[in-house]
Amino acid sequence: MSYSAPIPGLRNILYLDLTEQSSKVVDRRELYKICLGGVGLATTLMLEEYKEGTGALDPEMPVILSTGPLTGVYPTCTKVAAIFRSPLNGELGEAYAGGHLGMSMRYAGYETIVLKGASKYPVYVAIHDDEVTFKDASSIWGLSSAIDVGKILRSREKGAGRRSILRIGRAGEKGIRYASVNVDTYRHFGRLGLGAVFGAKKLKALVISGNKEIQSPEHKNYRKLYRDLYKTLVKTELMEKYHNLGTSENILSLNELRGLPTRNLQAGSFEGVETISGEHFAENYLIRRVSCAGCPIGCIHVAMLKKAFSKSHEYETFNVSYDFELIYALGSNLGISDPKAVLELIDACEKAGLDIISTGVILAWATEMQHKKRLSTAETLGLELAWGNVEPYLQAIELIVRAPNEFYAALGKGVGYASCKYGGEAFAIQLGGLEIPGYHTGLGNLIGLAMGARHSHLDNAGYSADQKAFRKGLSDEEIIDLLIKEEELRCMLNSLTICLFARGVYTPEIVSKALATLGIQKSPEQLIELGKKVSQKKYLLKKKFGYTLETLTLPNRFFETAATTGKLDQKRVQKALELYRQKRGLERSEKR
């Protein structure tokens, strides 16, 4: 099979219209030439598609999924970027998932998929190479477990072992603003509420499988570079963390650095940390590790949760994947030191299809509210939330999804919304309307989350800048320079949907070499420039979504609790924000 396209395979965009239940393939090879793929291409396409004023959950609001030229071609280039408008904070929705999705899209011949419209009744879309079918999903709408949705679709659809199954749980169906999309079990478009967008479109699931081939015009060079990269990824120390304990390795180290948010960030370290450490999970609960298709690392850590359900040694078992952020959100930040309780809470969120970081932060805020007697059991429907107590938390998760009263409905809209309505904004730990991930390391983290395009630690790794500052001392300006440089670099990596865990391997020089074996000529400098441009485009899109610098609020909690690099000072942070703004050339909005 040969391709006449200038870039092997990089040609098509698949448009799916859920209102009309129709699809079309559009040749946009010129777009791939300019943007390559991933976040760069998806952002460009969203700027094209977005009609000003369209709400996050409006039918016309598009969702764009995009892979890149290296997906399915080189090891650990496994991600798919999703660009949408976030129903949680109204601005840039951006999330990444791995699993089989990247490879399935690539081998199906659709590096990019645009979803538009909304169905009148629940549907799922099955894509098998050139065959696209819309199918009634009413019978699987409302299922209590998103894991079961996968099981059912696996038995209905072809493409075993070559397909990817995206699906939402009840949280997405009910429009919980931080609902996730589960990808192939254990992977997710987690943050910023893509699940709610799927739900609003009545799109329960999407199955995609592909069996096409790609050819490298420089096959010999390709084989050689593949071998080199594979060796680097598997056999050197560069990736040791992910081969071993995985991200949860950081639980103990961040705790030691006093940067692990505990009990709604009332503290930066947790006395019960030992039993929720990566080491403890690995030694006592880890049963296997799994990979995304095309990645030899196997960073997905799966634990077995065994629960007795009678006194006669009868057990039910669940396989639950865990990670640093999940242990923070449903462990230290809820004062939970029982690893089984953490796994049980993760499993509940996984089945409901909820973003775990947001859920954990919201539960933590509600707990503190109740402790401070600012909420009564009338609001919580009798629940008494208490640090370390798993049962009420499990019930609260169920109630958030069911939203039986105004209070739980408010919790389903995020901690920003709930604290605006019920108070406690000073300890609602969000930045830019997104519940914070598990770091309280200092200025870099705070500025990074506040100013990062999607308010994620993955935008610019502010926590990493802080750790550098902690070890060798950096000026605030140096920290800001690091953040900006890192965010731009990541925009490049994300345009190629390279897993960020492999960022140390895929330097601009290596990416340039890898692209050359596909007939794409981009110098390292051009790639860095591309990252810069994508970063600017994302801000342009944010502005169109109504983002202004002035909307930023900085809850007092961030200043009360000492971070790794010490207590943060309001004035210092304001100064740093201003410096960041100037360096990025971001304009303040004109007062209207």
Partner: protein, 153 residues
Amino acid sequence: MAKRLKIANQARCIGCYSCMLACARTYYATISLKNSAIDIQTSGGIESAYVSIVCHACIDPPCARVCPQNALEKRKGGGVIVRKELCNGCGNCMEACLVGAIHLDAEKKAIICRHCGICIQFCPHEVLEMLEVDEAGEEIKREKKDFSKGSEK
């Protein structure tokens, strides 16, 4: 000495597909999963274990017996050598292989493992091993992969 591939430690498979990509890359000069002689399958999604489907190196291979073209020549140490130019794509061999280790490529030629061991070089968890075997297929020696360089895993 003849060699054959063995699925030694199936439970260690992480489902990375590196072996499949290596096989297709080597013999078909493509980047794909479909032209690989070894097939990694899920048995109920990634929640459950992976399965590796590949030629078991039969000493008296049934696939060779049913080939009307004599395109499958018995291989020393087990399995067959495919003479592509003779294969007519009838699919009898696929039927005869209970393991399901044979499929056809785009030109309707049988794809069957040659026991060359390229996949082993791309297995990060020692799922696959090469055995040195005698003509009757009996194991003489096991080739251990060299993990002395780099991290212990």
